[in-house]
Symmetry: C2
Subunit: 417 residues, 2 copies
DNA sequence: TTTAGAGGTATCAGTGACCGAGTTCCGGCA
DNA sequence: TGCCGGAACTCGGTCACTGATACCTCTAAA
């Protein structure tokens, strides 16, 4: 139960440690404005009195979360002193556990990548070994980044679904054999000593967009994550939708191709059976566009073959292009299902495979989504690519920490240890 | 931008008129507990000090929103005096504008129907006439209910989609010719003098469930509204999802029957083309279960024929039963798409056609949804029928007002006038 | 009948966040 | 140099809440 009170000597421990709610509100306002804001502007925007803004600003300055950056004045009068986020006021570490690759980033307060690294996911089925590898790399990257360890707010982990958010556990994802109910969150918290947050990769990507994506991360949107699988992250009114167990965004079994291939769920033409990279690669192999037939269905192998297919399409092969364009049509249908169900007006694409796909998708998807929109008479639907880049998963993981510590909305999220 | 402050002399007009936030929090706590709560219990639950609870309770008692109702004590000591909502502390009027029928209710604070009435929707294409009819009936039902007009907090309207929530307008719904961008909200506000809220029918139904549905209206759930069309209302963490323009819950074009009939959207086997009452009636006619073929495709006619079909199934006709069971399978697929995308763990069925369908659906849908659940290894998905009854639409409309006035979450919602 | 134990109210000082008004700071312009 | 206007700070007051204390009420058990 949430209520507000004067934070006099705290009774319970259930209140955010970092004092005031309004503090996070104004921090958020500063964060969301590219050029920073002056105190007066803040007063107008958030509705608090100038004095209060001044007081809160001072506290933020004391915590080194913001800095005074230059003055800006037109007419007569004292020029306004602009307040900006202090990039080095806080850092967060993010890891993306992907079946193919482990991505690590250190992010500053602005959401900019200070340092990143990537290693291939150790093969095998022992989660313990992977967790140890991750912990080791985290220590290394923190060291390499040269960041003051005291300024690191915590660690975020993005994992493929399904997960159990309450337990902080990975629950048997398709491509991670051996990972059945593995307490990834607590394992990493223990191994690194950092307070750790966990979320599904697609959700993390959506959080990355809200924190580091600029204007396309505001308000409500759906983040289409084009990875080994296709999933989506959902943000409504600046708040991420996680669902009961953190598994929101499962759209793999939406039917998009009624005449399509049989899926393991018994239906024909699910997203999962007709539009994911592995299937597109198989199509290309069957059509003779990619020579040979790859037996190895492991994640890194698929990734490699898919890159090959994209390169061929890029080079002008029409058949290859057609496969990608076909997938765009199918994905657009899935997007329509979600946008119609939630009435959002922005779709952001991203994920590791996005770079290859962006040209075809950005050409085809907007029109298709618009045509299928139940609200096309009322508002349009914007389709854009993320500005965050290929590391969205890891960046988002780190953003989980920033969001948890600094965002005014954050209700809870289980903080490890 | 939302922020919290001490409600000293208000600056803007953007704060809820009814004072304190914590007041609504404790009102909400009382509302959600069937037997009411004592002051001590409230103190424990919301975390405020006993004195503060006492003070707020007094304010609520002064406003007649709650009453002291009986005492409850086991051991020695003074028994606790229970606080309950005062049903007659506040009332709200709700209208459901359906292509076939206009439903009106007067609700008390508990969400109980004090008075209801129903008239067939006047035929024709002049919204003005319908609005006048509605306004007239509202005046009548308020009079008949014998409720003190000063205690009526406002009017809620539920309309079929699409709507434009910001404008308070109905935007050309399939079965309401002539209703293209009609300012229903403001029209009714003006005609009745009541402050008026508007929402889509399925959203209203979901609100009804949160307010008057008991335990099945808590937390997160999807409300499947079985009406002339099939739509859903979405509630996440006790907050209704409305979307950019109030049109969330459009699931008519989810493909559920890949081999099914062609839909006007160009795909085969959409919910809209294979599971709505009109289609089931047509199937029954084609199969000779319903004699004759109805030319009249108007809403009331379909409603009547569908009731006939249900009666036949009820009477033991296997072919009729099969049609209904078939629709259950299809609807279950649509449900799975939504529950997987949002990771909710409860589905509530309701709407005007629900009574006929409930037996078959409650038998079939739970198993199907469970089997298709992406999170079946983590948590189950509960499938229940609403307790609110056939007037959910109108009840929900009235609940919009209660929610807007009394719920602690309520962000905004455009208040007419 | 007394006593113990619990619920609830009244009062008061103390605290933190907020606001309003007055004051100081800072730059351009006469 | 002095004036003006806008930005930002200082100061005193308000408000809701807490904690402590005292007191009354009510019930069951001694």
């Amino acid at each position: 139960m949430t209520e507000f009170r004067q934070p006099s000597p705290r009774r319970g421990t259930n209140l955010p440690k970092m004092g005031d709610f309004n503090l996070t509100v104004i921090l958020d306002a500063i964060r969301r404005t590219p050029g920073g804001l002056s105190r007066v502007e803040l007063a107008q925007i958030v509705g608090l009195s100038p004095q209060t803004i001044s007081n809160i600003s001072r506290r933020l300055l004391d915590q080194h979360l913001i800095v005074e950056a230059g003055k800006e004045g037109t007419g007569p009068g004292k020029p306004r002193t602009m307040l900006r986020l202090n990039p080095s006021g806080m850092y967060a570490v993010g890891v993306h556990l992907d079946p193919a690759v482990l991505t690590f980033v250190v992010l500053d307060l602005l959401g900019a990548v200070v340092r990143h690294s990537r290693i291939t996911t150790p093969p095998g089925t022992d989660p313990r070994a992977v967790i140890d590898t991750i912990a080791g790399e985290i220590k290394r990257i923190i060291l390499d980044s040269g960041v003051d360890p005291d300024r690191i707010a915590g660690l975020g982990v993005a994992s493929p679904g399904p997960i159990d958010l309450n337990e902080g556990a990975v629950v048997d994802p398709p491509l991670l054999p051996g990972w059945d109910h593995v307490g990834l969150r607590d394992g990493l918290a223990e191994a690194t000593g950092l307070s750790t947050l966990m979320d599904k990769d697609v959700t993390s990507a959506a959080v990355a967009e809200t924190w580091a994506g600029g204007p396309s991360g505001e308000g409500s949107f759906v983040f289409m994550y084009m990875g080994t699988g296709i999933g989506c992250g959902i943000v409504l009114n600046d708040e991420v939708v996680r669902g009961t167990s953190g598994n929101a965004g499962e759209i793999g079994h939406i039917i998009v191709d009624p005449g399509g291939a049989l899926c393991d769920c018994g239906q024909h033409g699910c997203v999962k059976s007709s539009a994911i990279p592995q299937v597109l690669v198989a199509q290309a192999e069957a059509a003779g566009i990619l020579n040979g037939s790859l037996q190895d269905r492991s994640a890194p192998a698929v990734q490699e073959r898919f890159a090959e297919l994209c390169a061929i399409a890029e080079a002008g092969n029409d058949a290859a292009k057609e496969i990608i364009r076909g997938s765009a049509v199918l994905v657009a249908r899935a997007v329509s299902v979600v946008t119609n169900a939630l009435d959002v007006d922005r779709v952001v694409f991203g994920g590791p495979f996005w770079t290859c796909l962006s040209a075809a998708y950005l050409e085809l998807v907007p029109g298709l989504v618009e045509a299928n929109s139940a609200t096309r008479r009322i508002h349009g639907i914007e389709v854009v690519g993320t500005g965050v880049g290929e590391d969205v998963g890891a960046v988002g993981a780190a953003c989980l920490v920033l969001e948890h510590t600094l965002a005014p909305r954050s209700q809870r999220l289980l903080l490890g240890d």
